[in-house]
Symmetry: D2
Subunit: 500 residues, 4 copies
Amino acid sequence: MSMGRLTKGPHPLLIELLYEAKFADDQTHLLRHLLELDAAHVVMVSRQGLLSQRSAAALLVTNRALVTRLERGEETFERSTRHRGLYAVYERHYIDVLGSEIGGSAHVARSRNDINATLTRMRLRRALGGFLEHGVDLVAALTEQAEAHLETLMPGFTHQQPSQPSTFGHYLSGVTAELLRGLHWLSGADVAIDCLPLGAAAGFGTSFPIDPQQVAGFLGFSRVFANSLDAVASRDYIVQVLAALSVVGTTLSRIATDLQTWSAPAYGFLSWPDELVSTSSIMPQKRNPFVLENIRGLAVRPFGALFEALAGLKNTPFTNSVEVSAEATHSVWEALDATQASVRLLSLLVRSLKTDHSEMERVLGSSGTTASAIADMLVRESGVSFRTAHEIVSREVEGLSGATGPETVGRRLQEAGLTLGHRIAIDPASLAAAMDPRKVMRSSGYGGGPAPEATRAHNAALRRECLLLRAELTRRTQAQADARQRLQLEIASICEGHST
Amino acid sequence: MSMGRLTKGPHPLLIELLYEAKFADDQTHLLRHLLELDAAHVVMVSRQGLLSQRSAAALLVTNRALVTRLERGEETFERSTRHRGLYAVYERHYIDVLGSEIGGSAHVARSRNDINATLTRMRLRRALGGFLEHGVDLVAALTEQAEAHLETLMPGFTHQQPSQPSTFGHYLSGVTAELLRGLHWLSGADVAIDCLPLGAAAGFGTSFPIDPQQVAGFLGFSRVFANSLDAVASRDYIVQVLAALSVVGTTLSRIATDLQTWSAPAYGFLSWPDELVSTSSIMPQKRNPFVLENIRGLAVRPFGALFEALAGLKNTPFTNSVEVSAEATHSVWEALDATQASVRLLSLLVRSLKTDHSEMERVLGSSGTTASAIADMLVRESGVSFRTAHEIVSREVEGLSGATGPETVGRRLQEAGLTLGHRIAIDPASLAAAMDPRKVMRSSGYGGGPAPEATRAHNAALRRECLLLRAELTRRTQAQADARQRLQLEIASICEGHST
Amino acid sequence: MSMGRLTKGPHPLLIELLYEAKFADDQTHLLRHLLELDAAHVVMVSRQGLLSQRSAAALLVTNRALVTRLERGEETFERSTRHRGLYAVYERHYIDVLGSEIGGSAHVARSRNDINATLTRMRLRRALGGFLEHGVDLVAALTEQAEAHLETLMPGFTHQQPSQPSTFGHYLSGVTAELLRGLHWLSGADVAIDCLPLGAAAGFGTSFPIDPQQVAGFLGFSRVFANSLDAVASRDYIVQVLAALSVVGTTLSRIATDLQTWSAPAYGFLSWPDELVSTSSIMPQKRNPFVLENIRGLAVRPFGALFEALAGLKNTPFTNSVEVSAEATHSVWEALDATQASVRLLSLLVRSLKTDHSEMERVLGSSGTTASAIADMLVRESGVSFRTAHEIVSREVEGLSGATGPETVGRRLQEAGLTLGHRIAIDPASLAAAMDPRKVMRSSGYGGGPAPEATRAHNAALRRECLLLRAELTRRTQAQADARQRLQLEIASICEGHST
Amino acid sequence: MSMGRLTKGPHPLLIELLYEAKFADDQTHLLRHLLELDAAHVVMVSRQGLLSQRSAAALLVTNRALVTRLERGEETFERSTRHRGLYAVYERHYIDVLGSEIGGSAHVARSRNDINATLTRMRLRRALGGFLEHGVDLVAALTEQAEAHLETLMPGFTHQQPSQPSTFGHYLSGVTAELLRGLHWLSGADVAIDCLPLGAAAGFGTSFPIDPQQVAGFLGFSRVFANSLDAVASRDYIVQVLAALSVVGTTLSRIATDLQTWSAPAYGFLSWPDELVSTSSIMPQKRNPFVLENIRGLAVRPFGALFEALAGLKNTPFTNSVEVSAEATHSVWEALDATQASVRLLSLLVRSLKTDHSEMERVLGSSGTTASAIADMLVRESGVSFRTAHEIVSREVEGLSGATGPETVGRRLQEAGLTLGHRIAIDPASLAAAMDPRKVMRSSGYGGGPAPEATRAHNAALRRECLLLRAELTRRTQAQADARQRLQLEIASICEGHST
């Protein structure tokens, strides 16, 4: 019973839940790639002498007719009520049009296994390219704003408490650096994707003398698989995409968290125009920057897809299986879409945000954020150790948030020093500088601090990196266009050769 | 800037990515519930004197017209190109039809926040009911087969090695017990869902003297929320649904794993008819029971949704937010659908499987699975301790898998006993019985073992439980139908009262 | 090769990485339960006539000696350098002390498989009981504060924006309701745990006429397994514990998020004494309520453990395996500990928090939170529809956050009404009431709103539930103590009977 | 209240649950790195003129004394009962030994925030290096066996059904390729780790003219952070490590799954010596290769840690926080340890496995795996299309698994051809070759198939890659040793200079 020819079509429930359920989606997202893959394979087997030019030409003409219909948005092919998914319908179409000998010859030296493995890579490569374009655009939006806010003084926070004087530009550069690392990681996944499985057949190669490298050249892949089992069984690159996407998602959620905190009326640092906020259905005073909540929610969608993929791959045989090829990685597309929406929404919000400098300085002025600068000044000018300086300042810290002037503060610091056994000299000008948030911020130029010239240099570096990434994306797009053109020339040559 | 009236519609990107992206889905899945909720609310505010009967009647007539169009599959309402989602379009429709005074009066004492919270519960209650029906059907399929295979002798496995004689029925009863616990857990989530948030308004209740309990009666909810913030902020019940679904998923994946192992040619225990297997596009000998791979893959989909929900809820304010109400729990629907598909496919496979008894007994006979029964016999009849008996048998274990007869085995066991310092008497009949897998299986009736009468009793208990669960599902469906009828009577009464 | 007696001990790497690595932990957490289980089993097999009273007495005396040493913190037993984990060492000890015939007789009618399954349940039952005690204590802390802050006026927030007047007590009652649901869910897992696997042996029961119900009575279990495979293969209850724990964790993280927001200087609503905050190693002005960050981090630890358990169970055979029994659920203990720490820390913070009413009212007064109350008033008293009232108020909303008095606001609202075509009468007293946040809060008593008497009633209900949960925990503890006493009496009877 | 000096130590519960709970672990794993970091910082601030040589020498002497004690396993320092964790105790020790002026001077231009960020990187870099060594060793074990089994004929499987003739070596090369990609990914994380945060202070840099690049040179880091906020806030590299580890884990679980299937008696392909299997406590015939279950379980541990890290980072402010720096990434160490154990166990199993060729060929011979080779032969020699050939062979597929000879099979294929309207010639020698699994395997050399010379070439490539990775690991270790030596020379120079 465990071997032998099937004489019946699939059970209606299988058609409903497995084949028909996916058909429309496959037609939308995979058919274009299948047509291209099919053409490249036919050209190669023809050039290798495994298929007559006459058959190849007939197949390619049929293929081109389908491409044309697809591009025009026309119905591509009919399907029987008991079909077994896109590929089966597709091959059936060839046989219906060309007869079983020519139509049935396309499938030489290939299998659904290596075809499926290839289609997933082609679709993912394309989706990833689109995502990265939007990612690079967000980097551009962030670095523009970072550059515009190099001098926008605001409190730096740790543990949600004001800490030290900083700038909004410094914040934006910091998050951009993490975002760029995430995009680079994601871009690196493209290298993993860029290896062609076609030729692996069912997972055990073939005895037909095919040339997979040739097909790779037509489909814009740089490399081919050296082991046919690896070619059909592995989906590690999808985990890599989802992990990198998850990291990008955490970065987006952290940025949105900060922007949301700072746009609450209690802070009032940031706001957006009418078209980017909503009001309440019952509270007319509300101006909710609710899009930040969408961003936080959408950005972490890849988490679920990542865990589905990992759990999906766990304890599966290392070979082709429906579990791995169809089910385990199913959610990658939605995760890409959701995170891409989050990226686009954040770009929009970043580009259109308005800052309120007076609110930033209000919070800064009332929270003693210059305390450590004063301690540093005492180390530098009064010769006490940092720990002693910290202790002295801690005794006068209430005075730093009010309107108390440098002279009073200086005297009190000297008194505090005496209490601790230190007679310290304080230069009023130095103290006044250490008590001035803007001056403190400007002097914090070491260790990656917010001094404008340091942030400006960092921004320049970020923009260079961004340009390089953009150039790499362009290079990839071009390489695929070139490959496509090579393939078209071959197709034309075979078809023309034949019609002559 | 952080307060004030909006004078512009939403940005096109928000419409594209947030509002329009969800509209079709909301219309398909939420509108029917929104119409029902709206009617119940209008009836209640009218009965409480918060809305004139004339306004109420006008609103209800409009509502009924929409219900009719929806049921007929007709276009329900037009939407502006700059809309803000289903509810906004819906309220706009009322105002367009009835004018701002009557059309605008429906929104008294409610908010989008409590409406959304209610709609999610209504949709989930319905989906869960459907899922559980299929779940109960799988339990029925499993217990039927378990009953049919009470005497189907097969090796029991641990660590994927044959262990002791068992039956296929015992295996099926065991997995059914776990499955039923999962379904009970899932069914328990319905109790958590069964609490009405409507009346909580934006999350801070209302000063209008509404009667939420009345609305609950019209919508088939048993309880109402005592705290308005809890009503709009909490989504714990969705996590409960997803966790229970994940447990059900692990059970399904474990069953599918065993069925797959046993249907491999190396075992040959199980097979399926043509319409439930597939062949290969290149290997004509293949009969792949590939649906088991779909089941394994589909069954664990709720894992991802569960983690999205948990990560989505983490570190959110306890109040209404888009992040919680729209994004965090977004994947529950797809997780329910996927697991339901898995349940239905497994029911089909369980009902149509064929067992090959000779293959089961072939493996059983060659793997020494009676060794522990022989050791037990030595304890019982020869007076040695279990550890000694184990040691004696271990020295003769190779003899158990071949054709060696009881006499030879008995003599060798005695020799082994002597080597260990034990002179043991062995009754040939007892040894022969202990070496007979079927007799061993029949005697293993303690501690939940595979003896047929024990499994039969367990099956009966499982079927009773299954009947109770089915009765509970019927009760729920009926309670909602009753509520719906009460609401229709009230609607009729208000509309007729008014038209008179 | 796949069958036969082992003549060598385990490889050193297995000892290092598998056996020795877990030994200390098992001795700390499992040995006490193993001794109890062992005694109960020996008593039962003795009473069933499967073991002589003499052997039983000898085993029980040895068992009691180990209990004594363990309770005194003394070394329990030596282990060989090539042992195979706690149970093997344990049985070896019996044989060393009592000889192979008596020492080797304890293992009759049981297996490591059912023993391990039982030990996990015993340990988890105990840990869960401890957790729930702390959970109930947090509920008590929250409801006490909720009761104390029934009149503590503060802005209610949605989307992190001030929305409507509410109270701190209302917030606390809301989160308590969700927390209590989580604890109830967790407590329900105890019912799932409360089923004894012992007697299932390797997973296929036994032919010895054992009485598992008797053992259940000695160990404080209510039920026994009807299917031996289910008994050793299933770990669904651990997923249930982890899922419920994860839900509790999300609730804790949400509470901590709000408390952190409100303790930031920009809000200034909450603060804690010195011993619960930290300062910075370099910023002497800092008072970081950093414990809230630990709570957020610790609370979500069960997420990882939950995912490990689910992924660990996926695609495993439904039988006993190391993968399921040892690896998949390994992290439950750490998850319980971490969440328990989070619960205890939050109890401490809740009990010792200080509120600053002037800051709460400052934010409330400046953010127009009475706008919807004014719109409601217009509906009630001026006869316009809610949508119209909302529109009218939205045109005057800036005036609500400043010092503008009711008269001016009233006049402007009338003008706004006229613009929209509505001539409306406004009662100055009603408007003044609608503009007074405290009055608005007090009037919001419907739909679970913050009016003090409504919150008080909800608090009373929460406290009743909490008492019931506490009573249930006490009942469980008592039931186990009773069982333990029954066992001790049996042990004494067997040992005394023998020594006579 | 939200600002000001603390006058009390931490609450006892904080000490119990937060500080004391981590102290021993921090001392074991972080102190060595803290001492090195501290020395490097002191040398740098001394060279930059920010600290007198006298103070620097005193601090370094104290530091070296601690290093000596730590290396000797002696007690390093006492801690007060109310301490605030390792760093606080550490600085206190300096002040106790050297007085507040010298002891308190070490903390200039640094903060606990950048110190913690640096320590995590130092610890992770070291742990990762150790892991990769074991990973490379597993690759070596796999490629050795792959090379030894180039001709070990076995059925290739898809969907757990025998598919086509393959070799065990081909399987092993395939999984090794995926494993190596995972290790490369993991190794790439080291590049992300290799950036020094020290100098970022609390997250806002410093006004002291420090030189972080100098410190990097002493600690073996290649780069320093350009943005101080990024330096203390980001933990993206930990997610990268955990994601790569998770991918490696899925690969390990898939290998273990296949090895487990093939070592079941039903297959009998693989076995292990006594010291690597276990028997049952009650079933003396059992030889469980249970270590494969530990491997599957241990290998997927990083999944949980990965999810904890992602959920832990979600919705946190982009700055230093306890939630991010201590809690979110807490599980990375255990995940590394568990996966490393899995890697080591699998290396051992791979090195010591025995194959049973007769069992492999038994399964191969009975399952029709040459069907597609025969179809390919018909395409090549009989001129039919692949689809027609597939159809012809499918009608005779039962004959392929038995003892039917080529002549009979050939005649039947011709008859089947006629039925389908094709008169085909069949060369008996070609058919005999296509029916011989070994010949089929040897001819499958295209597309990465199992022909020995193709697998040999792939193996050679894998070994080259493995050598390169090993060389890179050695380079990293050496670079750190060089850095350490530079630091020691500087320390010696400062200390000697001072003592002169």
